[in-house]
Subunit: 525 residues, 2 copies
C-alpha cells in the first residue's frame, strides 16, 4: 500500500539539480547507501564519492554513473580485504574460543588498527590542499555520510556543506545520544549491542544501564578523545569536548536504517527519519533456480545465507549444519563458498551467491536462515518470511533479538549449536503458524506507510539541498552544556532553596523552643 | 511542494470503508477536526458524531453528511452559549483587572462548573444502555477523540474500539506526558501554557521546571482524581491511578495540531504525528472585498481578527485600536461585532466575518493582527504573512511566543497596550523585512513536506481501521510503573551497591589501620 509522493519535489520537477558528495563505508553499509544514491542520480543530481585507494568494494577503475574522488593511502586493496577477512575469521571462529579478557584484547587490537587506518585516510583527505580546493570549488549542496567511519563530517565542516547521516546505529547508541541528543531512556529502550528488548526484567534493565555506562566510558576513552584532538587540529580550533564533540553534532538529518516494523517504539527527534527497508523491492522471476524450487512441491524451500562476510566455516560446523538441513522435507538453497560438507543432503544446494530478495519473495519460500544483518532481515520483513537467526557480531545479536521479540524469529547460538538445535529451530518457524503470522504482520506494517522509505530518504536529502540545511528540526539542546541539558543547575538550585527553607525553619523552631524553655525556667525560678 | 500520496491506501482504493465514531469539542477545535472528518467522508467512510444536546455549534437539526447521535442533557444550547460568553468576557475583560488570587478563584469556578457539565454529558452517555447498545451494534472501526473534553476514551473503551486523539496540547502537556509518555525535558522543551521558548535563560528554565511541577500538582488534585474515580465506576474496575490513568493512555495515534514550522524541535514518539495546518488551503478570489483591497495600492492591506470568541471590546479599547489602525497607510479589514468605534479611520472597514484564509493568501496582504489561535496562525504560516499577536488566554500566549521566537511576529499585550504600541508593532512587521522573510521561510517549510498534513492525519486514522490499532508504535514504557519508568529501582540498586562497596572498603581500611596500630603499639611495648 506504499504510496509514492507526487514527483513535484523531485529535482526534475522543481528545476533544482544539486551536487552531492558522499563519504561512504563498505560492505552492507554501501549496499544500502547505494540504493539512495542511485535514486538521487536518477533524479538528476550529480554525485561524487570520496573513497580511499584501499577500498576494495568500490570499482572506481571502471566507468560508473558516480564520480569517484580517490584518496591515495598506503597499502593495497588486497591488504585491506585480507585484514577484513582476518577480523571476520577472528570474530566468527576465534573469539568464541577465547576468554572474555583475551577476546576483548583481540578486539581492541583490531579496533586500534582500524582507527589508525581511518586516521590515515582522514589525514590524506583533509590535509590534501589540492583535493580540498577542488571539492570546495565544486560547491556541493549536501554531503551524505556514513558516520561509522569518522572524517566525513570533518570534510563537510571544512567545505562548509550541510550533511545528512545514514546509520543503523553506533556502538551503544553513543553517537546518536551525544551528537544527536537522541533520548535513550534505559528503562524501555535497549541500548544497542546489548541484545536486549524493550520489555526487560529488573536484571535486564540493570544490565541495560550498565551497558550504557560501559559504552560511554570505553568509547570516550578510546575513540572520541582521539578524534576530537584530530578534528581540533584540522579545524584549527579547540573543540570543547567534555562529553564528545565529533562534528556529527552538526548533522542536519539522521537517516536511520530501521523502521517501526523492526525497531521498538522509542523517543526520537524530528531530525531523525526511520527509513529501514529502503533497499527492498518486489521479487522478480528466478530463471535458473526455478526448477529446483518447484521440485520442493508443497513443502517449499528454505533460504540460507550468513551474508557475504562469512565465507568459511570449520569443517565440523559445516557438516552438522548440512546434516540438519538434510533432515528437512524442504529444499534448501545455501549460500556458501567453503568446501562442500560431506553430510550435504540431496535436498540442499550450495551457491556462491543467491538472489536473496527474489528468493525471499518467492511464494514457495517457508523460512530464512540468516546471520541477522539488517539488510537481509528487512528483505524477510518485506516479503513476510519467518527467520532462524544465527547472529555472530556487530548489530546481528540485536537484530535477531528484535525479530525474536516480535515473534518472527527463533535464535540459534552459532558457537554452541548442535544439528538438533538448528533442525528444531527450523521446524518451529516453519510449522508453528504464529511465526509466519507475525512475519506477515511486520510485512503489512512495512508496506502500509504513507510514503516509501526510499522516497523519504531522498526527500530529506533534497530538502537539505533546497533549504541549505534543516535547522528548523535541530533541538535547542545543542546549545546547552551537559549540566544545563540535564537541568542539574535548576535542580541544584531548587534543592538548595528547599535546604535553606528547612534549615531556617528548623533554626527558628529550635530558637523558639529554647526561648519557651528559658521562659518556663525563669517562671519556675 | 506538498505531495499527495498515491491514493492506493484510501478506503476506495483498498476496498475498505470503515465506520468512524467521533467525540468532538466545539469552537476552533471543531473547525480543525471537521476538515479531517470531511476528508474521511469523501473517502467513503461512514461518520457518526456524538454530541450533547447543549452543543451550540453543531447544527444537528438540519440534514448533514454526518450522522449525529445526541446525548440529551439538562439546559439549553442558549444556556451553554451564554456560559461560554460569560467565561470569555471574564477572561478577556475581567480577569486582567483582578488580583492573581481572585483571578485563580474565578477560573477555578468556571473550571469546576465545566467539569460538572462534562460529567453530566459523560454520565448520560455511558449509562444510557440503549445508546451504548446501539453504538456497540454498529461495530465502529475507530473513534476520533478530542481529549480536551473527557469521556471519549471511556466510550471507546466500553465499546472496545481503538481510538485516535486530535489535540493541540493539554494544560502543561500533562495528558501527553502522563498518558502518552511524551518526553518533555524541561531544559529545552517549554511546558505548554508557560509562554516560554526553547532557548531559555537560567531563570526561564527554573520557571519552566516550576510550571511543570505546578501543573502536575494542580491537575492531579482537581481533575484527574475526579475522572479516575468516575471512569473506575463506569468500567467496574479500579484504575490504578498513582499518577493519573485517564484511559487516554490507550490512544493509538496522537494527531498533534502543529508541525515543525511552528513547534520547537523536541523529542516525540512514533505514535505522535504532527499534522498542524491541515485545514489550510490555497486562497480563492474574493468577490465583494476585492475593490476595497485593490484600493490600497502599493501599501497593501492588514487583516485583523481576534477570532470568533471575542465579540466585544470595551469602548475605550475599541477606540484606541481604531485610532492606531487609522494611522496606517494600509487598508484594514477588521472582523468585529461590537459597536463601531468613534475613531474608526477611513482606511478601516469592519466586518461581521472575514474569509480569513483567502484574505491571508491575497497578494496585497502585508500583516495579520491575531489573537494567536492555532488555526489562524497556521493560515498566516501557510501564506507567509507576518503577524502582530494580541494573545489573551489558553494556548494563545504560547502560540505567539513560538511565532516571536521564529521571528515572524511581534507581540502586543492586550491589557496594557496603547495606540502607539499597536501602531509600532504593525509598522515593525510591515516595514522590517526580516518579519516577512521569516514568515516566508516558515511557509516554505510548511509546504515542503513529503506528504500533506491532512493526508497524514487521514492515513493514520485509516491505518488504525485497517490494522485494528497501531500497537507497533506503542512504547513499552506503558507497562512500567512510574519508578521503573524513571529507572529509580535500578539507580537505587546501583547506589546501594556503591554504598556497600565504600562501606566495606572503609571498614576494611579502618580495621587494617587498627591492626597496624595495635601491632606497632605491641612492638613498642
Amino acid at each position: 500500500l506504499l504510496g509514492t509522493p507526487a514527483k513535484t519535489f523531485c529535482c526534475a520537477g522543481c528545476g533544482f539539480c544539486g551536487k552531492v558528495l558522499v563519504w561512504p563505508y563498505e560492505m552492507s553499509h554501501w549496499l544500502n547507501l547505494k540504493i539512495i544514491l542511485e535514486e538521487l542520480l536518477q533524479r538528476g543530481h550529480e554525485l561524487t564519492i570520496l573513497i580511499s585507494s584501499r577500498s576494495y568494494l568500490f570499482d572506481y577503475h571502471n566507468p560508473s554513473a558516480f564520480n569517484f574522488e580517490v584518496i591515495f593511502v598506503s597499502g593495497t586493496r588486497e591488504d585491506a580485504e585480507k585484514k577484513v577477512n582476518e577480523f571476520l575469521d577472528a570474530a566468527v571462529n576465534i573469539m568464541p574460543t577465547l576468554s572474555l579478557w583475551e577476546s576483548a584484547k583481540l578486539f581492541q587490537n583490531f579496533f586500534l588498527e582500524a582507527t589508525e587506518q581511518f586516521e590515515e585516510v582522514c589525514r590524506k583527505a583533509v590535509y590534501n590542499e589540492s583535493l580540498m580546493e577542488k571539492l570546495r570549488e565544486t560547491k556541493y549542496d549536501v554531503m551524505v555520510i556514513d558516520p561509522v567511519v569518522p572524517c566525513g563530517e570533518l570534510v563537510a565542516e571544512l567545505l562548509g556543506v550541510p550533511f545528512v547521516n545514514s546509520i543503523r546505529h553506533s556502538v551503544g547508541d553513543i553517537i546518536e545520544r551525544y551528537c544527536g541528543h537522541l533520548p535513550v531512556p534505559p528503562s524501555y529502550v535497549p541500548v544497542s549491542m546489548g541484545g536486549l528488548t524493550d520489555r526487560m526484567t529488573f536484571m535486564e534493565r540493570l544490565k541495560n544501564m550498565m551497558f550504557t555506562l560501559f559504552f560511554n566510558f570505553v568509547l570516550q576513552q578510546y575513540d572520541f578523545q582521539f578524534w576530537d584532538q584530530f578534528y581540533s587540529e584540522a579545524l584549527g580550533k579547540r573543540l570543547c569536548s567534555i562529553v564528545i564533540n565529533y562534528m556529527i553534532i552538526l548533522t542536519e538529518i539522521w537517516l536511520i536504517r530501521t523502521y517501526w516494523d523492526f525497531e521498538f517504539p522509542r523517543p526520537y527527534l524530528p531530525n531523525f527519519e526511520f527509513v529501514g527497508g529502503l533497499h527492498c523491492k518486489p521479487n522478480v522471476c528466478l530463471q535458473e533456480m526455478e526448477d529446483f524450487i518447484q521440485s520442493s512441491g508443497e513443502d517449499g524451500v528454505v533460504v540460507f545465507s550468513l551474508g557475504f562476510l562469512v565465507k568459511n566455516l570449520t569443517e565440523e560446523k559445516a557438516n552438522f549444519i548440512a546434516s540438519a538441513l538434510a533432515q528437512l522435507p524442504q529444499k534448501v538453497l545455501w549460500r556458501y563458498k567453503g568446501k562442500k560438507p560431506a553430510t550435504l543432503g540431496a535436498n540442499t544446494r550450495i551457491f556462491d551467491w543467491l538472489p536473496q530478495n527474489d528468493l525471499l519473495g518467492h511464494p514457495k519460500t517457508k523460512a530464512f536462515i540468516t546471520h541477522g544483518g539488517t539488510n537481509g532481515i528487512y528483505e524477510a520483513i518485506y516479503h513476510g518470511i519467518p527467520m532462524v537467526g544465527i547472529p555472530m557480531f556487530a548489530d546481528q545479536p540485536d537484530n535477531i533479538a528484535h525479530m525474536k521479540a516480535k515473534g518472527a524469529a527463533v535464535e540459534v547460538n552459532f558457537n554452541t549449536m548442535t544439528s538438533a538445535d538448528l533442525l528444531s529451530a527450523l521446524r518451529t518457524v516453519i510449522y508453528q503458524p504464529s511465526y509466519k503470522e507475525n512475519a506477515m504482520r511486520l510485512s503489512r506494517i512495512h508496506h502500509d506507510q504513507p510514503i516509501k522509505p526510499l522516497d523519504r530518504a531522498v526527500f530529506w536529502i533534497e530538502f537539505v539541498m533546497r533549504h541549505k540545511g534543516a535547522k528548523h528540526l535541530r533541538p535547542a539542546s545543542h546549545d546547552l552544556t551537559w549540566f544545563q541539558y540535564h537541568s542539574l543547575d535548576v535542580i541544584g538550585f531548587l534543592l538548595a532553596c528547599v535546604a535553606t527553607v528547612i534549615f531556617t525553619v528548623t533554626k527558628c523552631c529550635l530558637f523558639s523552643c529554647q526561648k519557651i524553655g528559658t521562659g518556663k525556667k525563669k517562671k519556675r525560678e
